[in-house]
């Protein structure tokens, strides 16, 4: 006599795997007890679980082979070297920001040209800091691209567009919000199949909606193309040569110009 319906094969598996509540377990066991053949079969199933553990649990105590350990640890070593360079770059930029701030306090209105001059360095530092990052390269991943657009548009106060660089072999990883010297800025990161990363840095400019030509700057080993278009200043950074970066900058420009 059963309270929860007939005993099914699924119930037997659940009994073997210890996944029944006490009431159902009692029902299953009462049913099993009615026929020795039932007990024999269920016990054989349970015995096979025990034998699986007897056969393979010893693997858990084996030392992890060096070749498997190395795969995981190589990932840790690679960004480490670049990280040291990024920290050095941060120290430099900290000094520059400090000097810049002093300059601004002393001089009431810095020229517009000087504002743009800070852009490639900010972009290059942001690139150097985040592009080697394995665990947290971005705050919001490419799988939430729409959310990324909405969020950054809100934070930057201007409509953000994310260029598609798939035709150059670069896939979007995602993006993050960054502090610039005078407000929020954003960074989008891309990666190609070889693991090379490219970042697009953008910040909003107040008032001035002029457009400038491409300019190129080299900050340590990071190449940066930067320009102003409408309300945004853009900087595309990558650790490869000017010739490789220019077609990418062109594509970005054509996709996101208003």
């Amino acid at each position: 006599m059963s309270m929860h319906g007939p005993i099914s094969e699924d119930d037997l598996h659940s009994w073997v795997d210890g996944r029944l509540d006490a009431a159902r377990r009692a029902e299953v066991e009462a049913w099993l007890a009615e026929d020795p053949a039932r007990v024999e079969r269920a016990e054989a199933w349970r015995k096979s679980n025990e034998l699986l553990h007897a056969a393979y649990d010893a693997v858990l105590d084996e030392p992890v082979p060096a070749r498997l350990r190395a795969i995981v640890e190589q990932q840790r070593r690679r960004p480490g070297a670049v990280r040291a360079a990024a920290v050095a770059a941060w120290v430099t930029v900290g000094a520059l920001i400090g000097t810049g701030l002093g300059y601004r306090l002393g001089q009431s209105s810095p020229a517009a040209a000087d504002e743009l001059a800070a852009l490639p360095r900010q972009a290059a530092v942001a690139h150097a800091v985040y592009s080697p990052e394995i665990k947290h390269p971005v705050e919001v991943g490419a799988d939430q691209e729409q959310h990324l657009v909405t969020w950054l548009t809100k934070r930057l106060g201007a409509p953000v567009r994310i260029p598609d660089l798939a035709s150059h072999g670069f896939a979007l990883l995602g993006g993050r919000l960054l502090p610039a010297t005078d407000g929020p800025s954003a960074q989008f990161m891309y990666e190609d199949d070889a693991g090379r990363r490219l970042t697009l840095y953008l910040s909003v400019r107040d008032g001035d909606t002029s457009t400038t030509a491409f300019r190129y700057a080299q900050e340590n080993d990071v190449g940066v193309f930067y320009w102003v278009d409408g309300r945004f200043a853009y900087a595309l950074s990558g650790q490869f040569g000017r010739d490789a970066l220019l077609p990418l900058a062109n594509t970005v420009y054509h996709q996101i110009s208003p």
């Binding site: 005993i7 054989a44 096979s48 699986l52 056969a55 947290h136 991943g141």
Partner: protein, 167 residues
């Protein structure tokens, strides 16, 4: 993304499962290696949650691709199996050796289900997610796998006449 330490900590469990799947030390570690490499490439798509289940899913995909590529080679006749495929240094009971051999006679799909549930202690729902199949498929594969093992281990051949549902 997960930390390197979290990933390192999962390796023993992945090796145990792979050992059961392949019945061979070197093939098992090759499978783990491919799984780790894939996990590191795909790691940025991982969202905080059950890392072990995610890795097992990845291993399932690697395993399926490999045996598909090899043309369903994974059925091996008992006489083709190495006598001491696993842990030759250990003195196993005869039942354990019989089980190891019987396991390799199951289809890869049955073996995966049996190991995920019986060895790795996944719930039927978790196993279904890892394997990308409905729970009903997990249950039917589990029944076939357990019955097959029971027959092999008890020397039976015929499927017993058994009622699935009894009042």
């Amino acid at each position: 993304m997960f930390s390197d330490d979290a990933l390192l900590a999962e390796i023993p469990r992945l090796r145990r499962y792979a050992r059961g799947l392949t019945g061979d030390v070197a093939r098992a570690d090759d499978l783990v290696q491919d799984t780790l490499e894939r996990a590191l490439v795909k790691g940025r798509l991982w969202r905080p949650g059950n890392l072990r289940a995610w890795l097992l899913t990845m291993m399932h995909n690697v395993f399926v691709n490999q045996y598909r590529a090899a043309g369903a080679l994974d059925y091996r006749a008992p006489e083709d199996l190495p006598e001491l495929a696993v842990r030759p240094q250990q003195q196993d009971g005869i039942e354990v050796r019989e089980l190891e051999r019987a396991l390799q006679q199951l289809s890869p799909e049955q073996r995966e289900v049996l190991l995920l549930v019986g060895l790795e202690d996944l719930s039927y729902q978790e196993a279904a997610r890892v394997l990308g199949t409905p729970v009903g498929t997990v249950m039917s594969r589990l029944s076939r796998a357990r019955e097959r093992l029971r027959q092999v281990l008890s020397g039976q051949t015929a499927v017993p006449d058994y009622l699935k549902v009894v009042k």
